[in-house]
């Protein structure tokens, strides 16, 4: 096996499997993921921070956000450096509504998603005409604006943040508990699965083609009849929706939010997850989110040099694997079908 790489290996297995085998693979993967919180005693254990809590945030929520950002950056090629804005909008929607109304997390969820999508459209219409780095700086600015507004207006409690956010109501009779976050992890896992389902649905059909065409050559795409602005706004808005959902979950998990949680660093970190894992490829992005969410807590024993090591890992991995750990598809279907290994 000369050119072995994990992505093609996995894709190969998938291509060669029949319908039943595929269902079995999917179930197996989901089961393994669902069992993750029980692996706390293994080598996966995190020093200081509680393993099951780390699995919820950062790991699972990073994965969710990376999937959302990947629609924007990976699928349609728009560099968004302000993704944290939607995360913050979701979180603050939860915070404010649970402070002023009796709504619970699941009732707030659609409102939070809606608010984030609305913000996405509002920002997208004027700015998505911009290209490349100009879009990057404008989105970055948007992220900062949201944070600064939250910091400086009184109805968000300013720098004090919002505390006392309600925990979600029990699901199927099972209570959410602070000292055991397995249930929360499973909830986020379900959100991740829903997101994957959505992305897969969209990418094999018209929206996916439109995004792919926009990413590769926006002018050519528009001249081939793709309403580029419309699909860019859709992409941006879907990304925003997922960011908003992650925000609602984060606030419900954290019970306390404040503006300092929503700095530019979050946007950059999520972007790093996407690129690190393999931009454009769902599995790569999941891997990136999981590793970069997990690593800083795993290496807490080198406490002081933790971020230094993190930065070095980014530089090294990007230099040796510029397309990420699991890069987007490069090989052709026909070859995989034949099982050829060129």
């Amino acid at each position: 096996m000369k050119n072995f790489n994990l992505r093609d290996f996995g894709a190969g297995i998938w291509e060669r499997s029949n319908r039943y085998q595929r269902i079995a693979i999917v179930l197996l993967v989901i089961t393994l993921a669902a069992l993750l919180p029980f692996a706390g005693a293994s080598f996966l254990a995190t020093p200081v921070a509680a393993y099951d809590a780390v699995l919820v945030y950062p790991v699972a929520i990073f994965v969710l956000m990376s999937l959302g950002l990947n629609i924007v950056v990976g699928k349609s090629g728009m560099l968004d450096l302000g993704y944290v804005a939607f995360f913050a909008i979701g979180a603050y929607t939860n915070g404010l509504l649970s402070m002023h109304t009796g709504l619970n997390t699941w009732e707030i969820m659609p409102i939070g998603i809606g608010a984030a999508m609305f913000a996405g459209v509002l920002l997208g219409i004027p700015t998505l005409r911009l290209r490349g780095d100009y879009l990057a700086i404008v989105t970055l600015g948007f992220g900062e604006i949201i944070r600064i507004v939250a910091l400086n207006v009184s109805w968000t409690n300013g720098p004090n943040g919002i505390s006392g956010i309600q925990m979600p109501p029990p699901i199927l009779g099972k209570e959410f508990a602070l000292d055991d976050q397995k249930l929360f992890f499973w909830v986020v896992l379900v959100m991740i699965l829903l997101t994957i389902w959505m992305i897969r649905r969209l990418t094999v059909r018209r929206p996916g083609r439109a995004w792919e065409a926009i990413r590769q050559d926006e002018d050519a795409a528009e001249l081939m009849g793709v309403p580029t602005l419309k699909y860019k706004i859709w992409s941006f808005t879907l990304g925003a929706a997922i960011g908003g959902a992650a925000g609602v979950l984060y606030a419900a998990k954290n019970l306390f939010i404040s503006p300092e949680m929503f700095t530019l660093n979050v946007s950059i970190l999520i972007l790093a997850c996407v690129v690190f894992g393999g931009i454009g490829n769902i599995w790569g992005v999941i891997l990136g989110g999981a590793i970069l969410g997990y690593l800083p807590d795993r290496i807490r024993f080198i406490s002081d040099a933790r971020l230094l090591v993190f930065g070095l890992v980014l530089v090294v991995v990007m230099n040796f694997r510029p397309d990420g750990l699991l890069p987007r598809k490069k090989r052709e279907k026909a070859l995989i079908k034949k099982g050829a290994n060129a």
Binding site: A210, E222, L223, M224
Partner: protein
């Protein structure tokens, strides 16, 4: 004579101080092959860019099939039935040949994001139609065997043909081909000429930019010549070939110099 499909009236395009097109008038009739020729920098590609909405004309008008194209968005113009290829190949390299064409066939489909997400019957039906139509076009152009290959890995000649196939995917009435034979050897040019004729015979109207005279003379019904943004000739190939102004433009010898 058949009806006028595309009409350029007094079309002028200025970039800063440079006049790229100067009062150009041009008519294209349904079902003909019109070649647009001229020396480098004469403004041929600019004509394409104005028609397809890449540039907004400084003055003058473009009428296509009864619609004034001024101010329309590019994808709307494509939707009306104008499609083009690019001089420098601009395929979607990371997509397969088939996907390139399907992306273009999407233009006339109704289902959008929501349909795709929930797999509505219409979305499913349209996906099927797209696929069938794309294969049909690829077979027509003769590159269906490459359907599952990534566009960037295709041989050069196939990429050029795929440019045409992708443009046909949008079901255009008018097909704008920008130097489709660039970089071809004589044998390939002959094949291409046959293909273009076949395309016209299938009911498409073709506006063609080309440098290769033998190709143009072989297939065009009419030839228009641009020089420094001005139309200097517009007639049958035989007449244009002998027009002294055209010869001057190409050879740089002033006709009245003596």
């Amino acid at each position: 004579m058949s009806k006028v499909l595309l009409k350029l009236e007094n079309l002028t395009m200025k970039f800063g101080g440079v006049t790229a097109l100067n009062e150009v008038n041009l008519e294209i009739h349904e079902g003909e092959i019109l070649a647009l020729i001229g020396p480098n920098g004469a403004g041929k590609t600019t004509v394409f860019n104005v028609i397809t909405g890449v540039y907004q004309a400084t003055s003058g008008s473009v009428t296509f099939d009864g619609h004034n194209l001024a101010g329309r968005k590019r994808f709307q113009i494509t939707g009306l039935g104008v499609a083009r290829t690019f001089q420098n190949i601009r395929l979607f390299g990371d997509m397969t040949t088939l996907e390139n064409v399907i992306t273009a066939t999407d233009v006339h489909k109704k289902s959008g994001l929501v349909g795709a997400l929930f797999g509505t019957p219409r979305a499913r039906r349209e996906e099927k139609e797209n696929r069938a139509k794309a294969h049909e076009i690829l077979q027509f152009i003769g590159i269906d065997e490459y359907a599952d290959r990534l566009a960037k890995n295709l041989p050069y000649g196939v990429q050029r043909r795929l440019e045409i196939a992708r443009a046909m995917g949008t079901s255009p009435k008018l097909l704008l081909l920008d130097e489709p034979a660039a970089g071809f050897n004589p044998q390939e040019k002959v094949e291409l000429a046959a293909t273009i004729k076949k395309v016209r015979d299938a009911g498409y109207t073709v506006l063609l930019i080309e440098h290769d005279m033998s190709l143009i003379m072989g297939i065009s019904d009419r030839v228009a010549v641009l020089d420094f943004g001005t139309k200097i000739a517009d007639d049958s190939p035989a007449v244009v070939q002998n027009d002294p102004r055209v010869i001057e433009a190409y050879l740089g010898v002033p006709a009245d110099a003596s």
